[in-house]
C-alpha cells in the first residue's frame, strides 16, 4: 500500500505517519508541563488559541534519547488532536509499501528507504499506549 507519509526523526530513528493523520508540522514551541500526567506526555501547548496535549514520541516508544526535540507534528484522529514532539521532520513524500513486519505494537510495519529503516506509526495504538504506560 503506497501512500504519502510525513517522515520524522525521533531519538535518531526514522518513523513515518500517514499524511491523512497530520494536520501540520512546526517548531515545538513552548510546552507547559502537566504534573501528574503519564511520563510520555511532555505537556500541553497553545496552538492558535486551542490547547493540545504534546506526547514525546521517543519516550512513548521507550527510546533512550538525549537529542533535542525541535519539531512538533500535529496529528488528528477523529476529534482528537495531539502533538508529537520529535527531533525533526525529515520530509513529506511517497513511501513504498511496508516490506518488513514489526512486532512493536505501535508500528503497523516498516520499510527500507535509501538504506534507512523507517517504521510506520499506528497512531491509534501509539496514543492508546500513552495512558497504558501511565503509572497508576
Amino acid at each position: 500500500m503506497t501512500g504519502v507519509f510525513v517522515r520524522v526523526r525521533a531519538a535518531g530513528e526514522h518513523y513515518a505517519l500517514p499524511v491523512e493523520k497530520v494536520v501540520e508540522v512546526g517548531r515545538l514551541g513552548d510546552v507547559t508541563p502537566v504534573p501528574g500526567a503519564p511520563p510520555a506526555v511532555l505537556g500541553i501547548r497553545n496552538l492558535r488559541g486551542q490547547i493540545m496535549p504534546v506526547v514525546d514520541l521517543a519516550t512513548l516508544f521507550g527510546l533512550a534519547s538525549d537529542t533535542a526535540r525541535e519539531s512538533i507534528v500535529v496529528t488528528e484522529d477523529g476529534d482528537q488532536r495531539v502533538g508529537l514532539s520529535v527531533d525533526s521532520v525529515v520530509d513529506v513524500g511517497i513511501l513504498p509499501p511496508p516490506t518488513e513486519s514489526s512486532d512493536a505494537h505501535h508500528l503497523s510495519g516498516a520499510m527500507l528507504v535509501d538504506g534507512t529503516l523507517v517504521g510506520v506509526i499506528d497512531l491509534d495504538a501509539a496514543l492508546g499506549a500513552v495512558n497504558g504506560a501511565q503509572a497508576r
Binding site: 501528574g36 500541553i44 488559541g49 490547547i51 506526547v55 501511565q134 503509572a135
Partner: protein, 656 residues
C-alpha cells in the same frame, strides 16, 4: 411603593405592542368589511389585556384609552356589528396607545375626547385620570419602541460568549505585544485605538453576559406555595421571606440550583423549623421563618437559605472543632450512613447532593448553625460560568490558576508550627495546614523561599494554605479542556491561555483537598524539620545495585529507606512494625515475587491501604494490567526510569 423591575416593564411593553398589532389588523379587517364578529372579539380582547397591563404598570393614560375602547367594543359585541366609522378613531386610538405605552401620553386627551363624542351614551371615561398632567416621558422611548424580545437558542448565546471571550483575550494579547512598541514610538493615536478597542470589547462582553443572566426571581415563583404546602403537611406554621430576588445570575447556574433551593427549603421546613408546640416553650413565636436571600459578594453570588428553627445538633457542631466543616459533617463525610446524620440533626438528608451540585457549578457550600437559634446554608457561586475568575500563581516558573470562588484569602507564610510532620499556620485563631503547590501536584521543584505567599483554599474539610513562589492576581479566563488523552490525569479543571500567551493549568480545588493530606509538609527554607518524620520507603529488589541506586536517590530526597531482597523478607519487615509508608517493589524475585507481595499486602487487613509502586524492567502490557488489577498504586518501568518520575510518584502517594 417598590419600583418595578425594568425588565418586567419591558416585557409588559412588549406584550402591549403585540396586542396593539393584533388590534390594528382586526380593525383594518373590520373597516374593509372582510371580517365579522370574531374580529370584534379579537379587538375587544386586545383592548382588555392592554387595559390590565397598563393599569398594573402604571401607564394611566394608556389604561384610560384602553378602558374606553373596551366599552365601545363591548357595545359592538352586543350589537354584533361594527360601524365602519368607528375604525378611523379606533386606529387613531391605537396610535395614541402606542405612544402612551412608549412614554408619551400627550396623544391621550384628544383621542379620549374623540371616542367620547362618538358614543355619547357610553359611561364617561375616568376623566380625572385622563386630565392628569402628562408624566415625564420614559427616558428610553426609542429603545422601548424596538424593545421586542427574540428567542435565541441558549447554545447560540454560549457560542457567542465564547467567541467574545476569546476576542477579549486576543485583544489583551495584542495589547501586550504591541504595547511596548507603541510606547517606544510615542504613537498616542494607536494607543488610544487599542484602548478604545478594549472598551468596546468589554462592553460587548458585558452585554452578551447580560443575555445569559436572569434575576433570581425568575425561579422563585413556586417557592412560597411549596413552602406553604410543606409546612401544612408537617403541621407547622412557616413564613417564607425572599430578599434580593433581583440578584442577577447566570442562566445555567439558575437552572442548576432551582432544585437545590427547593431541597434546602424542604430541609428547613421539615427538619429545621419546630412545631408550634415546641417553639412556644422555647420562647419563640409559633410561626417559623425561612429566608431565601441572594446577594452579590464581589465576584461571587451568595444564595442563602436560613431558618430560625432548632439548629444543628450540638454533637454535630462539636465535630467542627475537630477540623471538619459543618457543611462536610452534614454532607455525611465520616458517617456510615446518611440516616445517622438525619437522625441526629435532621439536616443531612441530601446535603451531600447539594454540596456536589454546588461544586459542579464551581461554587462552595457553607453551613452555619446555632443550636436552638437556627441554621444558615450558604451557597457561594460564581457570577458566570462562561468566564471563570481565577487567581493566578506561579511555582517553579509555571503558572497555575485556582477558581477565585474557592480561595478565601492570600496570606504570607511567615511563621509556621509543626505537628506530626504537618506544617500549619495560625490565621485569626484557626490553624490552617500549609502545603507546597509543587508537592500537591507531585511536581519536582526547588524549595520555596522563606515566607512565601499562600492561597488559603476552602476545602470540604476546613481550609489549606497553598504556598507558591508568587501570586500574580486574578484573571477572567475561558477554561479549555486539556484533551481526552489527559482526561484521566487528576487535579485539573482545564487550562487557560493568558494574555501573554502562557498556558495556565486551572487546578481543581477538590483535588487540592484530596492531595494536601499526603503533601502537607512544607519545605520552606526556614521551616526546619523539628518533629517531622520523613516518610519511610521499603525498597524490595533482588539486585544489589538496583537497591542501592534507589536508596541513594531516595535518601538524597530526604526519605528514610529500608531494603529487602525479596517479597517474603519485605512482608516480614512490614509485619514487624507498622511504620512503612510506601513500598517500591521489583516483579521478578526469588522466594516471593512482586505480584505475590502485592497480593499479600492487599489481603492483609492491617496494611491493605499501604501504597505499592512496582518498579520493573518488564514493560509489557499484560504485566502493567495485572499490576493495576492487583492494586498497585503506580507502575514504573526501569528503562524509562528516571529520578524525577520516581520521586514525583512517591511524592504524589505519600508526600515529600
Amino acid at each position: 411603593v417598590t419600583p418595578l423591575d425594568p425588565r418586567i416593564v419591558d416585557l409588559a411593553r412588549q406584550e402591549a405592542h403585540d396586542s396593539l398589532e393584533a388590534m390594528e389588523q382586526s380593525l383594518l379587517a373590520l373597516e374593509s368589511g372582510a371580517a365579522g364578529a370574531e374580529a370584534i372579539d379579537a379587538v375587544f380582547r386586545a383592548a382588555h389585556s392592554i387595559k390590565g397591563t397598563a393599569g398594573m404598570v402604571g401607564w394611566d393614560e394608556a389604561a384610560a384609552i384602553a378602558h374606553v375602547l373596551e366599552d365601545r367594543l363591548d357595545e359592538c359585541r352586543t350589537g354584533a356589528s361594527f360601524p365602519a366609522e368607528l375604525a378611523g378613531p379606533m386606529l387613531r386610538a391605537t396610535d395614541a396607545l402606542r405612544q402612551a405605552i412608549d412614554g408619551d401620553p400627550s396623544g391621550a386627551p384628544p383621542v379620549l375626547e374623540e371616542l367620547a363624542t362618538l358614543a355619547p351614551a357610553a359611561d364617561a371615561p375616568p376623566a380625572g385620570r385622563a386630565k392628569e398632567a402628562p408624566r415625564a416621558p420614559d427616558p428610553r422611548p426609542a429603545r422601548a419602541a424596538s424593545g421586542r424580545a427574540i428567542r435565541v437558542a441558549a447554545e447560540k448565546v454560549d457560542r457567542m460568549l465564547d467567541a467574545v471571550g476569546e476576542s477579549v483575550l486576543h485583544h489583551r494579547r495584542l495589547q501586550h505585544q504591541l504595547g511596548e512598541r507603541i510606547g517606544a514610538y510615542g504613537d498616542g493615536a494607536a494607543e488610544e485605538e487599542l484602548d478604545r478597542g478594549e472598551r468596546l470589547l468589554e462592553e460587548l462582553q458585558d452585554s452578551v453576559i447580560a443575555m445569559r443572566t436572569l434575576p433570581l426571581s425568575s425561579i422563585t415563583a413556586p417557592f412560597p406555595r411549596a413552602v406553604r404546602d410543606m409546612a401544612a403537611s408537617e403541621g407547622k406554621e412557616v413564613e417564607l421571606v425572599i430578599t434580593g430576588a433581583d440578584t442577577q445570575l447566570d442562566r445555567v447556574i439558575l437552572e442548576g440550583i432551582s432544585e437545590t433551593i427547593t431541597h434546602l427549603l424542604r430541609n428547613a421546613v421539615a427538619h429545621g423549623i419546630e412545631t408550634p408546640d415546641e417553639r412556644e416553650p422555647a420562647g419563640k413565636p409559633r410561626g417559623g421563618r425561612v429566608e431565601l436571600r441572594a446577594e452579590q459578594r464581589g465576584a461571587l453570588i451568595a444564595i442563602e437559605v436560613a431558618d430560625d428553627g432548632r439548629g444543628v445538633a450540638p454533637e454535630l457542631v462539636a465535630r467542627v472543632d475537630h477540623g471538619e466543616s459543618l457543611a462536610d459533617v452534614l454532607a455525611g463525610v465520616g458517617f456510615s450512613t446518611a440516616s445517622e446524620v438525619s437522625g441526629l440533626a435532621g439536616r443531612g438528608v441530601g446535603l451531600d447532593a447539594v454540596k456536589t451540585n454546588v461544586e459542579r457549578l464551581s461554587g462552595s457550600l457553607e453551613v452555619l448553625s446555632e443550636p436552638g437559634r437556627g441554621t444558615r446554608v450558604v451557597m457561594l457561586l460564581p457570577l458566570t460560568l462562561a468566564l471563570l475568575r481565577v487567581l493566578i500563581c506561579e511555582r517553579d516558573g509555571q503558572v497555575f490558576g485556582l477558581p477565585l470562588a474557592s480561595v478565601r484569602e492570600v496570606v504570607e507564610v511567615a511563621e509556621t508550627s509543626s505537628l506530626a510532620g504537618r506544617r500549619s499556620l495560625e490565621l485569626r485563631g484557626e490553624s490552617i495546614p500549609v502545603a507546597d503547590l509543587a508537592s500537591i501536584l507531585g511536581a519536582a521543584a526547588p524549595p520555596l523561599a522563606p515566607a512565601p505567599p499562600a492561597l488559603v483554599v476552602r476545602l470540604p474539610v476546613g481550609a489549606v494554605a497553598i504556598a507558591c513562589d508568587r501570586v500574580l492576581g486574578d484573571h477572567d479566563v475561558v477554561t479549555k479542556s486539556i484533551g481526552r488523552l489527559l482526561a484521566d490525569v487528576p487535579g485539573y479543571l482545564g487550562a487557560a491561555i493568558l494574555e501573554d500567551g502562557r498556558v495556565a493549568l486551572i487546578l481543581d480545588p477538590r483535588h487540592v483537598a484530596r492531595s494536601y493530606a499526603t503533601a502537607a509538609a512544607l519545605d520552606v527554607a526556614d521551616a526546619g524539620s523539628d518533629g517531622y518524620a520523613a516518610p519511610r520507603v521499603l525498597v524490595v529488589d533482588d539486585q544489589f545495585t538496583v537497591r542501592e541506586l534507589q536508596r541513594s536517590i531516595l535518601e538524597t530526597a530526604g526519605y528514610s529507606v529500608e531494603l529487602a531482597e525479596d517479597g517474603r523478607r519485605a512482608l516480614e519487615r512490614i509485619a514487624r512494625r507498622s511504620d512503612i509508608d510506601i513500598v517500591l517493589t521489583d516483579l521478578e524475585m526469588p522466594e516471593m515475587d512482586g505480584f505475590e507481595l502485592l497480593g499479600a499486602i492487599r489481603r492483609d487487613q492491617e496494611h491493605s491501604a499501604l501504597p505499592v509502586v512496582i518498579v520493573t524492567s518488564r514493560g509489557d502490557e499484560d504485566d502493567r494490567r495485572r499490576g493495576v488489577e492487583e492494586g498497585a498504586d503506580a507502575y514504573i518501568v526501569k528503562d524509562e526510569f528516571d529520578q524525577q518520575t520516581l520521586l514525583g510518584t512517591i511524592r504524589r502517594l505519600v508526600g515529600p
